[in-house]
């Protein structure tokens, strides 16, 4: 248990929260399911915790082709929402593959996207980690690195992003709205996650005081009939992904008209498999096409000493996810 203290502020208005959020030492609290363990382990020591969970930021609305989810919507409420279930099953699959019932009842959409890596070198304050302590080095690169990245790593950091939901959202080309005291901006989900540098590895591209307020998807319901989230993990439930794949297809007249593939557990961000996607376009959803997409998915993979097993695992997971998504009606 950390013995560091902090002040608690329950924000009454978004503008109040955003103004306070810009101050040094401030941290936003939504569900708290990541912040509290980090604080207890002395991995973070905010001076002021700004509770945004009571702000009216949790609405889920579908309007025309757009789905909008407020950042503090609880994961279980999103997964149980009738319109999300009917038109965006991939989002529900990603959520229900995450954490436990207790955690999903509290954890929020925005917090899920901003949860910090589960790399054990990050989570142990006694070990070297550029993400936690810029310039201290990366213990994982030459240490126990079974869990580490295949893509997008640097000499300074090989940690994966742990969110399942982010992988599903990346496949659906989700965009996020980020608010601050000076206004708001919109960015693609992929732009939220910077690649690591030589001695630093920031978790997100958010600037001090910025808050995710909305997640938006346009026209993603077109994938509702052919979408799946496949998660490979060390135990069947309540465990982070070793490798995961979100697959979404639009099949018209017996051919794949559009394909979206994103992989989790293999990169610092949800890793879009664009070559695999391109190879599927115009093809019939056959084993041959899926095998080719699987082979392309692993091009450019750069394994470390302990994680080369993830390469065939990713290839096979892509194939299996496509079999499932392609076989739906």
């Amino acid at each position: 248990m950390s013995s560091a203290s902090f002040n608690y502020i329950r924000a009454a208005e978004l503008t109040d929260a955003l103004a306070r959020g810009e101050r040094a030492g401030a941290a936003y609290l939504a569900g708290g399911t990541d912040l509290l363990p980090l604080w207890k382990a002395s991995l973070t020591a905010p001076q002021e915790v700004i509770d945004i969970s009571h702000l009216p930021l949790a609405t889920i609305t579908r309007s025309g082709d757009a789905l909008t989810i407020g950042a503090t919507a609880r994961l279980s409420d999103i997964a149980a929402h009738p319109e999300v279930k009917a038109h965006y099953p991939l989002v529900c699959d990603g959520i229900l593959a995450s954490a436990s019932g207790q955690v999903r009842n509290v954890a929020t959409m925005g917090g899920n996207l901003l949860q910090r890596t589960r790399c054990p070198y990050f989570r142990d304050a006694g070990l070297a980690c550029n993400k936690r302590d810029p310039g201290s080095g990366c213990g994982t690169r030459h240490g126990e690195n079974r869990h580490a990245v295949l893509f997008g790593g640097s000499p300074g950091c090989v940690a994966t992003h742990p969110s399942d939901l982010a992988v599903a959202l990346a496949a659906l080309d989700a965009r996020i709205v980020v608010s601050s005291a000076s206004g708001e901006r919109e960015l693609a989900l992929s732009e939220l996650y910077p690649l690591p540098g030589e001695t630093t590895a920031p978790d997100s591209s958010l600037r001090p005081g910025e808050m995710i307020t909305v997640i938006r998807m346009l026209n993603a319901a077109r994938f509702a009939n052919h979408a799946t989230y496949l998660k490979i993990r060390d135990r069947a439930s309540f465990e982070f992904a070793v490798v995961s794949v979100a697959a979404a297809l639009r099949i018209a007249d017996g051919a794949i008209a559009e394909a979206r593939l994103a992989a989790g557990g293999v990169a610092p961000l949800p890793w879009r498999l664009e070559k695999s996607e391109a190879a599927l376009i115009g093809r019939a959803p056959t084993e041959h096409a899926f095998a080719e997409a699987g082979a392309l998915a692993i091009e450019g993979a750069r394994p470390l000493e302990g994680n080369a097993f993830k390469i065939p695992l990713l290839r096979n997971a892509v194939i299996r996810a496509l079999q499932t998504a392609g076989g739906q009606s």
């Binding site: 248990m1 950390s2 013995s3 560091a4 203290s5 902090f6 002040n7 608690y8 329950r10 040094a24 030492g25 609290l29 569900g31 708290g32 399911t33 509290l36 363990p37 604080w39 207890k40 002395s42 991995l43 973070t44 020591a45 001076q47 915790v49 509770d51 969970s53 009571h54 279980s76 954490a99 436990s100 019932g101 207790q102 955690v103 009842n105 509290v106 304050a125 006694g126 936690r132 302590d133 201290s136 069947a236 439930s237 309540f238």
Partner: protein, 187 residues
């Protein structure tokens, strides 16, 4: 919290390497934060409680240490084991991951609000008959988690196994726990 390890600790973006007594160091770093006290008003098992609490207190610590309701257990204190499960307006949560201040005004149910020795809740009765516990430490959390799970909707045996993955039983009574829940769920 004395420690023999070298630890990196953080405050306002600065990093400090230190050996030894972390408690002392973090106190001095936070000496400029005035001690805040939060007026908490919370309903637990139908009773309204008013307490002054620390801003850092978890709901679990308030329930156990401030209110003396020790049926809710502290296991891992990291959200992994489910021993601290309570219901907030009927939804199960891990009270060790809940900042108490954020739950001011909430309506909480703990195991003390479930059944009595004379009139057990059907799940308590089923747990006894199915031998769904040995040491019993995880049982309050298992019972509350199962109550909420059964209220979440129709279930299969696989749904129960998946849905109870947030509650660990170190004695390994999981098979009997699933059987007890299945019986009460009408499976």
């Amino acid at each position: 919290m004395p420690s023999s390890f070298a630890l990196a600790c953080h405050n306002r973006g600065r990093t400090f390497q230190c050996h030894g007594d972390v408690h002392h160091m973090t106190q001095s770093l936070n000496a400029n934060i005035p001690k805040q006290s939060i007026a908490l008003s919370i309903k637990i098992n139908g009773t309204r409680y008013e307490r002054e609490i620390a801003p850092t207190a978890t709901l679990l610590d308030v329930i156990r240490d401030e209110l003396g309701l020790t049926g809710t257990k502290k296991g891992c204190d990291m959200g992994g084991c489910g021993a601290c499960t309570v219901l907030v307006t009927g939804r199960r949560i891990a009270s060790c991951l809940a900042l108490a201040a954020s739950f001011g005004g909430a309506d909480v149910t703990t195991i003390e609000g479930i059944g009595t020795a004379d009139r057990l809740h059907p799940l308590q009765d089923a747990f006894i008959r199915h031998d769904a516990l040995q040491c019993g430490y995880c049982t309050p959390g298992q019972i509350l988690s199962a109550i909420a799970l059964l209220a979440e909707g129709p279930l299969s045996i696989d749904d129960i196994r998946e849905g109870m993955s947030g509650n660990l039983c170190r004695c390994g009574a999981h098979a009997n726990i699933v059987a007890a829940i299945a019986e009460v769920g009408g499976l």
